[in-house]
Symmetry: C2
């Protein structure tokens, strides 16, 4: 099978909303009148973003999920994506699994694969996802306001916990490991929550490099500071049963600096708290208030007694780790 | 320097047309009312699409050029692009050259870098480019008509010729090599020609994998056949001075199956020949008529005596070569 056959077999389906899909120099489609286009690209490299042992179907899911998570953080509705794929060789069984996982998630979000590229090379996946958002409705990093409550969706720390177990640095019960591994390998992008938070949240970002570090991007862009509490790391919907099995200090690391969570971290005015809960119910995901936006700059993390901690929770840097 | 600093230093510039540029989860912009969006992704891998010795400035140029060439082939006007970049390590001198070459070509075509991703990994560049085209005006592969003349823009074969010299399989005068190397390392996407061919050409494709192979994609998509002449390989604007120094048979290989040309191959009704020349003049590039679309299927190449050749000119396959 050659390059063009594999594109036809695994990645070409009849165009749905697209005017022209896979198979020409460009894909073509018509944006809804008046809408703004939201675009994001992510590149996943074997050994850095995923292990060589991950089942291809889960990898296909994750490759699109991390991109949809960026749209979610912007409050944009997914419409289409392109896939560029470098592979060491053509492995049909791998391609079958990968495309099945990828396209199942795409279908779930009605996000159409419209084009891309395949080539020989070290296993690398680059997806560019496009979405639509009404002008002025996009959720940005730069709009956090002093006094805003800070929320996190779902739960954090599980993906990192799974990684530590795989590295042999921790052990978990089989069922706890399986649930964490699921979070690491098949994150669920919070698209519905992002849409429901339009007009409710002030600022939003998706947590991919670690909660504290990603919150830092919001603070910098909004020119504000923040205080994070930690009682929610003790006991809340944001901490899974698997995480509960860890000592508190370890749990704090995983929750605030674990990475690969793909949850939404957002801020909203205190008077929006009912609207935030309503959005969460609508999107069928929990949200937990974890702190407050302040004047000044930088992030202060309070311990369980409310005393500022001296420790730093670093963001994941792809060139430093 | 970390990941976020390098993005700020080398790839972040104030948004021009974009509503929101580099630095948030998504970039945002507003499509011109009524326009269709054209999108294409290309991934370039070191050792396969470029040599490790290529000056980074030229590589930055080429990475965007091959994507703009896809927009040109669709008759779309470039508006924005994303860049995803995997690098083994942060090399500031490399980044400076790469971004300078990339952004100079972007400025030339008023195509704005709006977002992307950087990570550690084997040197891999993935660009997704977006353009605008009025509904119905896009040039497609599937619209070639029986009786159409087939044209090629500029000249073909030079990039492959440069590669053969680099591989030590051919030799050229220093000045001929320099001009071929320029064609290989800094192709000029035929954006202006693509725009001028709207309403004039019936079908269009950019030649990246070899003229005969890429013409084959047009024939398949349009369900037609074609006859190519070869007298133009003997002597025409489509064959450079460097190519003229080769024996005819070698020249034929380079011209029809060389690859990396980034010229436009298009078809137009014979009565459009004046309009084709007018478009070429407007875009300041030569065009050469090289054959005709026929009924049936497949490609027939005629020798200088007009006799069908038995040789095949294969398309470049990234997994077979």
């Amino acid at each position: 099978m050659g390059e063009f056959d594999l594109i036809t077999r695994y990645f070409t389906r009849p165009a749905k909303r697209a005017v022209l899909g896979v198979g020409d120099d460009c894909a073509l489609w018509q944006i809804q009148p008046g809408m703004q286009l939201a675009v994001s690209s992510d590149m996943l490299v074997e050994g850095r973003h995923f292990l060589s042992t991950v089942p291809p179907k889960r990898l296909g899911h994750k490759a699109l999920a991390v991109n949809l998570s960026d749209l979610a953080a912007s409050g944009a509705k997914p419409v289409a994506f392109t896939l560029a794929l470098a592979m060491p060789r053509i492995d049909e069984s791998w391609l079958q699994g990968f495309s099945a996982g990828l396209l199942a998630l795409a279908d779930l979000h009605q996000c159409e694969l419209v084009g891309g590229d395949t080539t020989q090379g070290p296993l690398t996946i680059c997806i560019t996802v496009m979405g639509e958002v009404p002008p002025g409705d996009a959720l940005l990093r730069q709009s956090a306001q002093v006094g805003d409550d800070i929320y996190i969706s779902g739960s954090v720390g599980d993906a990192r916990l799974a990684l530590e177990v795989m590295r042999g640095q921790l052990s978990l019960s089989a069922s706890d490991f399986e649930s964490c591994r699921q979070r690491m390998e098949q994150p669920e992008p919070r698209v519905a929550l992002g849409l429901a938070l339009r007009g409710v949240a002030n600022a939003c970002i998706d947590v991919s490099d670690g909660l504290a570090g990603d919150l830092g991007h919001v603070l910098k862009a909004s020119q504000v500071g923040a205080v994070l509490t930690t009682d929610w790391v003790q006991d809340s919907a944001a901490i899974s049963a698997a995480m509960q099995s860890l000592p508190f200090a370890r749990r704090l690391d995983m929750a605030l600096a674990g990475g690969d969570d793909y949850e939404l971290l957002f801020t909203a005015a205190p008077e929006q708290s009912d609207a935030v809960q309503h959005a969460a119910n609508e999107a069928n995901v929990s949200v937990t208030c974890i702190g407050r936006i302040t004047t000044g700059s930088g992030l202060q993390v309070l311990d369980l007694q409310g005393v500022p901690m001296s420790r730093r929770f670093a963001s994941y840097d792809h060139f430093a780790n």
